[in-house]
Symmetry: C2
């Protein structure tokens, strides 16, 4: 991942299917934006949100985190800094290896079809660029090692999570990310509930090159700072960005 | 992986549970040795074989490819250049993600127990070195992205392989290795049968930083050279090393 992580400690997750806040200026207080969601998301509404973010701030890095292949298009790839693909350690086989091989099989063998382009000119362009285009596309794709720790969350259901990890297992998954899989990001996801610093501390012990993210239930500066002090590189804040701009501002660290 | 791959195009897989050839001098014609097997393998017979190889040649790189955690000991880690752990793309969940998290959870949280050491002094040493030892150990561990293409092989049975990959899927798994998982090795395993160059050609198209290995049914120089011409960095020769020294010599490329 060719991104200078320095100074990134607050991330906002924006769901393209939800209403944006009246004052989009609040995003200037966050350090990076991840665009993605499950229900009602399309490549078109994803692109529209990315363009609104870019119009507000041309500086802030933007990632797309697609839940489905069809959320990605040639245009969304062009528009973002990185496409971040979750690999869910405590999920089912589909969400660790199967969907990744399917994705890269698609990218390698039929990029036009994968990207849903039926525009003849674009199809020809993709066909003519062939292998070079594949390499260019894959340079934007990065893996996120995920551990999902809220069994009642939508994310857990979608990913087939039926086991929560102990802090020792979180440390093991973190070390596997750092030393074996080499994903640039490791993400502890409590999705809607505040999980506290324990898992973050366990993971941080073994992460050196890998960026450590925590998401879930952050509603105050005190929680943000507790998670950062435990060793996370950044917190991810989602729901309140859409629902409650005042509370969102409260999550920004000093 | 800190290994200069230049000049490595013939690899010998040595099973510690099988008889070694009368003339161990034949290993001087191969470029790298992988020690591993399933039935009857222990960390003790693994170490004994590594020591015999080292006694014959101090130059040749030696990898251990363990099938079980208990095949690895503090001594085998010290004795080899790398511990190569298969991640089987078309295997079951245990053989892609589960055993890796278990391994690294063990390494992170209880290295003494993992390494089966009940020698008090060694246990104390491990406990006192703590995190530094964990980091040192993990630097020797590398991932091998595996595709197993012989459904009747022992390897397929052990790894839960029930689907063979098309050449497009082999290309997809290769690209996923190169661009997403970042394992330094990608291994196409036909285990006992000669699979020909088609899968190797498909994978080679998308591998740049990743070393491409082919194993299975190599019994002649013509087969070795066909696989190398298709884009493999090296062939892996196993059975005839133990069974038939003359045939083994025939597999060495010019």
């Amino acid at each position: 991942m060719n991104l200078d992580w320095h100074g990134i400690d607050h991330i906002t997750k924006v769901d393209p299917a939800k209403d944006l806040p009246e004052d989009m200026g609040i995003i200037e207080q966050t350090d990076l934006i991840i665009v993605g969601g499950s229900d009602g998301v399309t490549s078109e509404n994803t692109l529209a949100v990315i363009e609104q973010i870019r119009a507000q701030s041309s500086e802030i890095p933007v990632f797309q985190e697609p839940y489905r292949d069809r959320h990605v298009s040639f245009e969304t790839i062009e528009a973002v800094d990185f496409i971040a693909i979750p690999a869910v350690y405590n999920g089912d086989r589909e969400h660790f290896v199967e969907k990744h091989v399917d994705l890269f099989t698609g990218v390698a063998s039929k990029p036009t079809e994968l990207l849903g382009s039926d525009v003849p000119l674009l199809g020809d362009l993709i066909a003519s660029k062939g292998r070079d285009l594949v390499v260019e596309m894959t340079e934007k794709i990065i893996g996120e090692g995920y551990v999902i720790q809220n069994p009642d969350s939508k994310a857990a259901g979608v990913s087939g999570v039926d086991t929560l990890y102990t802090p020792d297992q979180v440390a093991g998954a973190a070390l596997a990310t750092e030393a074996f899989y080499g994903f640039p990001l490791f993400y502890i996801e409590y999705s809607g509930t505040y999980g506290g610093p324990e898992d973050v501390e366990a993971a941080a012990e073994y992460l050196n090159d890998t960026v450590l993210l925590y998401g879930g239930g952050i509603r105050s500066k005190q929680q943000t700072e507790e998670i950062l002090a435990a060793g996370a590189d950044a917190v991810v804040v989602g729901d309140c960005f859409h629902d409650n701009a005042d509370q969102y501002r409260e999550t920004i660290p000093s």
